[in-house]
């Protein structure tokens, strides 16, 4: 059985768990290193980056997550989770996990009164537009050559990106009733798990 972990240190992890379960996935809330053992993919939810990064370090979660990523397991960060995955964040000396070749500016759209919702095109999810909710959202300033842009705002800003098995969105699919992003991630997790099982023979 494929198990999808959801980092449950702080933030809207319960919303991710609910959507993944609706799709029939088995999920596990990840708070301690031992929770990482046996999961096939990991969602890093929205929340507060500083809070989440402190708790990642205090309870030794960084190495198990990094080694999971090195082995090719899919990871998906939404908002704060995306910041955690980025190699570079303006105003931060060190990246939290530093997995994706992107540069991030935090709270780039302004404070809470500037939080917004809008419709975006995400060709990888089909024709229907996706309702994207941006809350004190980070802006993706630069994407490296290996990063594929899955969706942009009208002004061209990248808001959903993929690099191999790593997925990142600066908005919150978990706050909508539309399960297509979660289904997309779940498919990646299942494909990877299947191919690694075949490779292990």
């Amino acid at each position: 059985m494929t198990i999808v972990g959801v980092l449950a240190l702080q933030g809207d992890f319960a919303e991710h768990v609910a959507l993944l379960r609706r799709l029939g996935a088995e999920t596990r809330e990840v708070r301690l290193p031992s929770d990482v053992t046996g999961i096939h993919g990991l969602v890093l939810p929205g929340g507060e980056t500083t809070t989440i990064s402190r708790l990642i370090d205090q309870y030794g979660l960084r190495d198990p997550i990094l080694s999971m990523a090195r082995e090719g397991a899919p990871l998906w960060g939404t908002c704060a989770g995306l910041i955690a995955m980025a190699r570079k964040t303006e105003g931060r000396d060190d990246p939290v996990l530093g997995l994706m070749d992107i540069d991030i500016e935090r709270n780039a759209y302004g404070r809470q009164v500037d939080s917004f919702e809008t419709e975006i095109d995400v060709p990888a999810l089909g024709e229907a537009r996706f309702h994207a909710i941006f809350i004190r959202a980070p802006r993706i300033q630069r994407t490296g050559p290996e990063v594929e842009i899955l969706a942009r705002l009208e002004d061209g800003t990248a808001v959903a990106v993929r690099q191999g098995a790593l997925l990142g969105t600066s908005f919150h699919p978990e706050l909508t009733e539309d399960p297509r992003f979660h289904a997309y991630f779940l498919r990646t997790v299942k494909e990877r798990e299947h191919s690694s099982r075949v490779a292990a023979g």
Binding site: A8, G47, I135, L175
Partner: protein
């Protein structure tokens, strides 16, 4: 592109879940709170314990204090306005705070009416003692709720009472026949539509934090196990002997609230928590939770 929608207002509260919101009065406090892992700070001129001690009229903080705190931290900054004082709320929105707490900790400006919060782009959090009060505030546009507890006492008893009362209110509604819904909504003073929603979904409509009396890591974990989504810590951090230590410990206990071993570990050697007040020592007019309706 739409701003100030219900989804982005209640959505920010969802991002705060599982976290600790700390009262701070200086940028230095704010930095300590952020470093300790607070998911937001409440910018104030005085913490509730000092408001209680000082007496007199407690008002919205000086904008200078709020702005300096906003410039210091990257986490969301909340600020309090008096109950019913919609101009203080307008000022706070103009300053760009991320959340407004229409709070009984300040002296009410209006004894009959709360702010009509739907008119604002900035989201509001309000206190409650039971389900009816919570639904009245949500009806007025609050996108987040917290228990009132009894602020500035370091005594958890009222927060527990209020949380249990909310939970029992939900349980009661769920067990009811739909024909009984109208009478129950009337009895608890809740908007019918919201009462119906709670009965059908079995869930509280917005994020619900605990507040008012949390002083130790175990207090925070207790409120989480009782079903709160996160906690506010007012005087509990900066009125204790070791603010940094207690702030970190409460953050960890809130994340690992179901893990008694971790709660034990983080509770060690924290020194004196804030001195508490037995509620029986307070006169009825000294209670803050009874402000608002």
């Amino acid at each position: 592109m739409e701003k100030g929608t219900w989804k982005v207002k209640s959505g920010l509260a969802q991002m705060l879940k599982g976290g600790v919101i700390m009262d701070v009065v200086t940028p230095e406090h704010a930095r300590i709170a952020e470093e300790a892992g607070a998911c937001a700070v409440m910018a104030l001129e005085r913490v509730p314990a000092d408001i209680r001690a000082a007496g007199g009229v407690a008002r919205m903080a000086d904008p200078t204090v709020i702005k300096r705190i906003m410039d210091t931290v990257s986490i969301p900054v909340m600020a309090k306005c008096r109950i019913g004082h919609f101009v203080e709320a307008q000022v706070l929105e103009a300053l760009g705070v991320d959340y407004i707490d229409e709070s009984e900790v300040l002296t009410p400006a209006d004894e009959s009416h709360h702010v009509w919060k739907h008119n604002f782009n900035v989201p509001f959090v309000c206190g409650c003692r039971d389900l009816g009060e919570a639904l009245r505030r949500i009806g007025e546009g609050a996108a987040m709720i917290r228990t009132k507890g009894e602020a500035g006492t370091g005594n958890i008893v009222e927060a527990v009472r209020h949380m249990r009362s909310v939970t029992n209110g939900i349980r009661r509604l769920r067990s009811m026949d739909e024909n009984e819904l109208g009478a129950e909504a009337k009895a608890i003073g809740a908007p019918l539509e919201l009462a119906r929603q709670v009965r059908e979904t079995g869930k509280f409509p917005v994020v619900n934090f605990a507040a008012g009396g949390i002083a130790t890591p175990a207090d925070a974990a207790l409120m989480m196990q009782l079903g709160c989504d996160g906690v506010f810590v007012g005087s509990g951090v900066f009125k204790s002997e070791d603010p940094e230590g207690i702030a970190k410990a409460i953050v960890r206990a809130t994340t690992h609230f179901r893990d008694p071993k971790i709660i034990a570990e983080v509770s060690e050697g924290l020194g004196q928590p804030m001195a508490g007040i037995d509620l029986q020592e307070l006169k009825p007019e000294e209670l803050l939770a009874t402000r608002g309706w």
